[in-house]
């Protein structure tokens, strides 16, 4: 066992490190940049990254990738993490496009779509969002009601989407819509590329409990989409959606909230009963748990990297990482607040910037316990696909979508179908 690079990996790492040193702009005096400045810096950085092929290391060169390996991709991410790129450059605005939508187009799109969209996604010229969840269904994604109706060479899309990350900045959206309501829910869906600036698309930011607005509602009212912007076959959209979700879950393990070092420092500085908090066994337990879980997930990543290098294909086994990271983020934030007593109720505005990770963990961990597969959905996936347990009984699985009862099977009121009038 070792954590060493092979000579080839070491060479690539050195190359990446040199490139990052040249291309990362340090944050001016640690100050927080305004939105426009972040966009400018992010675009500059990502365009340089794309020119070098680092924006999508595993993609073929033909579409702007490097034609490299998964291991090279991991090495790049490891090096990039050391230089704080996401926060410094605001490149998270582009991450939905690069990490989720681009991969889906590469795998399921037409050549025309690949040539039209992929280079621009990589060069950060166009921002993307995901139009998946709806007010009536998030975990039950296959129950989307947004309807796409054929109109000559086009489709007209009508419905409402929600939790659309960065929808307010987006140029395009990957939209899952129902094209045949008369068949069971998974079989009547199709994936489209929606131009977010086209008539009939309205984006309204959702004010979150943190008072930020990263998510949006998107209203589609006969938004026109060319059939050339359809991804995959008509009524084959579920398969395309699963490709996107696979990417989403595999990137979730890179989330970070409050680090153990931060929790330990607070425990050494704060006092409980006039003693340093760290002298209290209950606090030590929380510090230990924080390290155990966050470092445990890092170790998992090292195991995956090893498996990849030995030729394994990643499966759903690692879905547990998001459950651990987000749950721990929430618990650590609450532990930190507890250690400060009543002072812990003050915001970072009062307590200073060092309190930001606590506040962010407290506000954001709950969101990420839901986004990209809730704790409960991920447990179902692990149980069924890894532990081989029998599937849950799904009362709506074989029923035509327009005959499904809102209230679930025989307990509902007769005739109250979710898709009235179809």
């Amino acid at each position: 066992m070792d954590f060493d690079d092979t000579p080839e990996e070491a060479e690539f790492r050195a190359e990446v490190r040199a490139w990052l040193t040249q291309n990362v702009e340090p944050r001016p005096n640690g100050s927080v940049l305004d939105l426009d400045a972040r966009f400018v810096r992010a675009r500059r950085f990502l365009a340089a990254k794309a020119a070098k092929g680092y924006a999508a290391i595993t993609w073929p060169k033909e579409f702007g990738g490097l034609g490299g390996t998964e291991i090279q991709h991991i090495i790049f991410l490891q090096e990039q993490a050391k230089v704080d790129v996401p926060t410094m450059h605001g490149s998270d605005f582009f991450s939905v496009g690069i990490n989720l939508c681009g991969g889906t187009i590469l795998k399921c799109g037409t050549d025309e779509q690949r040539h039209r969209f992929l280079p621009r996604i990589l060069r950060a010229e166009e921002i993307w969002c995901q139009l998946f969840s709806e007010p009536s269904g998030g975990s039950d994604l296959a129950a989307v009601r947004t309807r796409a109706v054929r109109d000559g060479e086009d489709w007209l899309i009508t419905g409402q989407k929600v939790w659309t990350t960065y929808g307010q900045f987006s140029d395009f959206g990957l939209c899952l819509a129902r094209t045949d309501p008369a068949v069971p829910k998974h079989r009547g869906l199709t994936m489209f590329i929606v131009d977010m600036r086209s008539p009939g698309v309205e984006v309204r930011p959702i004010r979150q409990m943190s008072d930020e607005a990263e998510f949006n509602e998107v209203f589609l009212d006969n938004a026109r989409v060319s059939d050339r912007f359809r991804i995959g076959a008509v009524n084959d959209g579920w398969k395309v959606a699963l490709t996107t979700l696979g990417h989403e879950r595999s990137t979730a393990a890179t989330l970070t909230f409050i680090e153990w070092q931060h929790v330990l420092k607070i425990a050494q500085q704060a006092k409980i009963n006039s003693q340093p908090a760290i002298e209290d066994g209950r606090i030590r337990e929380k510090v230990a748990e924080c390290w155990f879980n966050s470092f445990g997930v890092r170790l998992m990543a090292f195991r995956s990297q090893t498996a990849l290098a030995r030729g394994a294909v990643p499966g759903p086994e690692e879905s547990w990482a998001k459950i651990i990271i987000t749950g721990q983020g929430q618990r650590s934030a609450i532990a930190a607040m507890d250690m400060l007593g009543a002072l812990g109720s003050l915001t970072a505005e009062e307590l200073g910037d060092s309190w930001n990770p606590v506040e962010e963990g407290w506000y954001w961990a709950p969101a990420f316990r839901i986004a990209g597969g809730t704790d409960e959905i991920l447990r179902n996936i692990l149980a069924e696909r890894v532990l081989g347990l029998p599937p849950d009984i799904r009362v709506d699985r074989d029923i035509p979508f327009n005959k499904i009862n809102t209230y679930g099977g025989s307990h509902g009121q007769p005739g109250d179908a979710v898709w009235k009038g179809l």
Partner: protein, 363 residues
């Protein structure tokens, strides 16, 4: 990046696993429980010797295989998976390892060859924090140690005592002498029997190369190896629970299709995965003598205790009423989980060791 066992080590694992499946570890554990077999399974112990398991880490000059900690980890996991009732932890992971690491040439030449082929069984008695009165003075040992795992079958014992400053030191005592009195004690897990060992001015000798940090080093290594045993047992508990959940019907469906059961089994799986990651880190640390060893060992120990305790408890719960009967194998894992959680010091102690390591790391 090579954060896994090598193909050769995996091959070794397969050999041990196949042997233990055939030898029926759980069945042998039950025989010990039912007093049909005394103290340990001799057939399994001899079979393991044929595979070279006891000889893994012992140098070739003392009739060992001269392999390392990673092979010991692999063997420990498989023994835990099979719940094999053999003195692996006592004899191989603690006694032989302490003589190998800290013994004199003479001590090594005397004991290691027998420990390597399994003809000699050794054990250890560690410094208890509740009323331990063991003293080592001018070549003699006095005081009582309890519980001493495999104390009735061992021929040699490593005793941890404290010097005048309270520093732990390791002494070696040949148990074939009249100044040692032994009697069996009852524990929650009779499949791994223990004894009360009284030293009445028994002849003993220091392990000369031990030094002030010797016991810490030895216990860190033992903690990682025991963690692998626990990991194996936890995997077996989970496999038992999943198999039962797939078979057992209630309310017109298999109970494994209920989310209450699925999520419970998934939580077992997650704890095991986390423990596995930390066990691997512990394996890497002890196999390379890494500076991070105390932290890695504490992480492996705490994670493995949590994983096996939880898996053993919830395995009974998934089985329902049948799980609490003598006939069911659930309680064998439930017993082993507790015993393993307490040997080498409880989770409370190891968690404090973990946090102490984190503090050092932060400075």
């Amino acid at each position: 990046m090579n954060f896994d066992f090598s193909p050769e080590q995996e091959q070794f694992r397969d050999q041990i696993r196949r042997f233990l499946q055939k030898a029926d570890g759980v069945g042998q554990a039950r025989s010990v429980l039912d007093n049909k077999v005394q103290n340990y399974s001799a057939p399994i112990w001899h079979g393991l010797a044929d595979l070279g398991v006891q000889a893994i880490a012992i140098p070739e000059e003392h009739s060992g295989l001269g392999l390392g900690a990673l092979e010991l980890c692999v063997a420990a996991e498989e023994l835990g998976r099979a719940l094999a009732p053999v003195p692996f932890l006592s004899s191989v992971c603690v006694c032989a390892e302490s003589i190998r690491l800290f013994g004199s040439e003479k001590q090594q030449a005397k004991w290691l060859p027998g420990l390597a082929n399994g003809s000699i069984i050794g054990t250890w008695a560690f410094a208890d924090n509740t009323g331990d009165d063991t003293r080592f003075q001018s070549g003699t040992l006095s005081g009582t140690k309890v519980p001493v795992l495999d104390g009735m079958i061992a021929e040699v014992i490593i005793v941890v005592t404290k010097d005048a400053d309270g520093t732990p030191m390791l002494t070696l005592c040949d148990l074939a002498q009249s100044r040692v009195e032994r009697q069996p004690v009852k524990t929650v897990d009779p499949t791994r029997p223990a004894a009360r060992v009284k030293f009445v001015g028994a002849t003993a000798e220091l392990l000369p190369k031990c030094g002030a940090g010797g016991w810490q080093k030895l216990s860190d290594r033992a903690a990682v190896l025991l963690a692998f045993e626990q990991l194996g047992s936890a995997e077996s508990s989970l496999a038992m629970a999943c198999a039962y959940a797939r078979e057992r019907g209630a309310f017109g469906r298999k109970i494994g299709s209920f989310q209450a059961i699925k999520h419970k089994l998934t939580d077992m799986y997650i704890k095991i995965q986390l423990a596995r990651c930390h066990c691997y880190y512990g394996a890497w640390a002890i196999s390379t003598d890494a500076a991070d060893t105390p932290l890695a060992a504490a992480g492996a120990r705490c994670g493995a205790i949590d994983a096996l305790d939880f898996a053993a408890q919830e395995n009974i719960q998934v089985h329902g009423g049948i799980g609490i009967t003598w006939e069911s194998n659930c309680h064998l894992f439930y017993r082993r989980a507790r015993l393993n959680a307490l040997l080498l010091g409880s989770r409370c102690e190891w968690q404090d060791r973990l946090v102490a390591s984190l503090k050092r790391k932060l400075v």
